[in-house]
């Protein structure tokens, strides 16, 4: 089933009787060449690129619940490539380029909208840091513009420029950044993978790994044993729990991050605006709701819900930045579980168990990475070598001293 404008018109004229489910619901086969554990954004993208770009066959995605039921359905939908460090920026820019061609690539409307992201700065030192980061972005082929106070005012006149503690002095703008429809991304990858023969198996929880002589031979699941040549784990949020079944401890703590959406309002916020100093960022969805968030709660959690102090903190940040939202009503608050790694950067690597691969540690930045994460993980699974943009995301980088710490706060996951 191919989506096109013509198709929409034809279905409209014939009573919408021709639409089919986007994917099959197959029974698990006894054996596969590749098993991806985790049917979220990264797992589905991995299966998609494994089948399409690398031409591999006999692939299954195992998901304990329904497809896209984890963080791909709980994030604030921002896509961007405004990182500083050489281990990160080329990877995220690769992801940004994949976003730009994604909808044509998988023939599905993911509502990719390059409405820009603006990071605000409040001091000379912060502006210097932004200039350096902008230059690092340009070197990696991304776009970046340093705005002064008046340029920011022209873009977003509603901001509070004269806040006593954090007066706005300028900002770093990436125009190619923006938002995407998070569920649409999962559905597009799922449909694309299914069309290429990948078995998407839902309600199938992995309960153990079968390892013979240091090599993976398959996975135990709630629907029986399934043999596999290679197994890739992409279950961010639960990585520690899943990898513990393979006897591994990870450089990861699970933390809860809350997100918020207001009632629908008239169009008012032009792109994504981040107020790092005040722990607040915001964009406006196409439906009109203000989608915003702030810091993680800061303690280990698997609860998928947070506590009130952080809600208050985020609301205070919002009021400090844009007092006009004070009368907007909050519609929903929810939480997702983040793999907070020890340096704030992810892991895409093989493990000490031969044939078992890990994609984890995405902190609260996994959504924007979805296409590149899937591509790089598929590359690793198919070729045994890391993708050129993901070669720094090694599991052993911590012990070797090659951490990728954008914030420079050390091995303290709740500060990343």
């Amino acid at each position: 089933m191919h989506f096109s404008g013509l198709r929409v018109i034809r279905e409209a004229l014939t009573g919408h009787k021709g639409w089919k489910p986007l994917w099959r619901n197959p029974e698990p086969q006894p054996a596969y060449d590749y098993i991806i554990v985790g049917g979220g954004g990264h797992g589905l993208a991995t299966a998609y690129y494994l089948a399409k770009t690398f031409g591999r066959a006999r692939i299954a995605v195992l998901e304990k619940s329904w497809l896209g039921s984890g963080n791909i359905g709980r994030n604030t939908t921002i896509i961007r490539s405004n990182y500083l460090l050489p281990g990160n920026e080329p990877f995220y820019e690769f992801s940004m380029k994949l976003w730009e061609g994604l909808e044509q690539e998988f023939n599905f409307n993911a509502m990719v909208s390059q409405r820009g992201i603006l990071n605000l700065c409040h001091t000379d030192a912060q502006r210097d840091a932004f200039r350096r980061r902008g230059n690092a972005m340009l070197l990696a082929g991304a776009d970046a513009e340093l705005l002064d106070r008046e340029q920011v005012r022209a873009m977003a006149p509603f901001l509070n420029f004269d806040n006593a503690r954090f007066p706005i002095k300028g900002g770093l703008l990436q125009r190619r950044a923006g938002t995407a429809r998070h569920d649409g991304v999962a559905w597009g990858y799922a449909r694309g993978a299914d069309m290429r023969g990948v078995d998407l198996i839902q309600n199938c929880e992995v309960t153990g790994f079968r390892i013979d002589g240091g090599r993976i031979s398959g996975v135990e699941t709630t629907r029986g044993y399934i043999a596999a040549g290679k197994v890739g784990v992409a279950v961010a949020g639960s990585s520690s729990r899943v990898m513990a079944m393979a006897g591994m401890r990870l450089p990861i703590e699970s933390h809860v991050l809350q997100a918020f959406v207001s009632e629908g309002l008239k169009p008012t916020i032009p792109g994504v605006i981040t107020f790092g100093a005040g722990h607040f960022y915001v964009s406006q969805s196409d439906k009109g709701g203000l989608v915003f968030g702030g810091d993680i709660d800061g303690y280990n959690s698997y609860a998928q819900r947070g506590n009130l102090p952080v809600i208050e903190d985020v609301a205070e940040g919002g009021m400090a930045l844009m007092p006009m939202i004070g009368r907007a009503r909050l519609l929903r608050v929810w939480g997702g579980i983040m793999d907070m790694s020890m340096d704030g950067s992810p892991i895409i690597d093989r493990t000490p168990v031969e044939g078992l691969y890990l994609n984890a540690g995405w902190c609260y930045g996994g959504f924007k990475a979805t296409p590149a994460s899937g591509y790089a993980f598929a590359h690793l699974l198919a070729t045994g070598r890391p993708h050129e943009t993901a070669s720094a995301y090694r599991l052993d980088r911590f012990a070797r001293g090659y951490v990728i710490d954008e914030k420079g706060v050390g091995a303290q996951p709740n500060l990343h």
């Binding site: 520690s240 401890r249 990870l250 990861i252 800061g298 280990n300 506590n307 102090p309 012990a399 709740n414």
Partner: protein
């Protein structure tokens, strides 16, 4: 969340800052054989359980004591709190 401070009674978790797994009390011996690997593990690797977790909280805006709080990470229910000093003197957090 309210933390039952052993000396001060129930205190708002907002008064505390969070460090992490209470296993951090068991610092390896830097002079021992294999200390480098032991420290890499100590600094970077965590059990990160879903369920009962023993963890270090610092009463920063209170009496500045370190506590070992036992908490369920799946429900945020707090099951107990002790002074970290007492835990350490009893022989560690394991």
């Amino acid at each position: 969340m309210l933390i039952p401070h052993p000396l001060l009674g129930l205190r708002d978790a907002q008064e505390f800052t969070y460090l992490g797994d209470a296993a951090l009390l068991n610092r390896p011996d830097g002079m021992a054989e294999g200390a480098e690997a032991a420290f890499a593990e100590y600094v970077y690797l965590r059990d990160n359980p879903a369920g009962v977790h023993r963890e270090l909280w610092f009463h920063e805006q209170g009496d500045r004591s370190w506590l070992v709080v036992t908490r369920d990470t799946t429900t945020h229910e707090i099951l107990g709190a002790e002074l970290a000093r007492d835990v350490k003197l009893k022989g560690g957090a394991a």
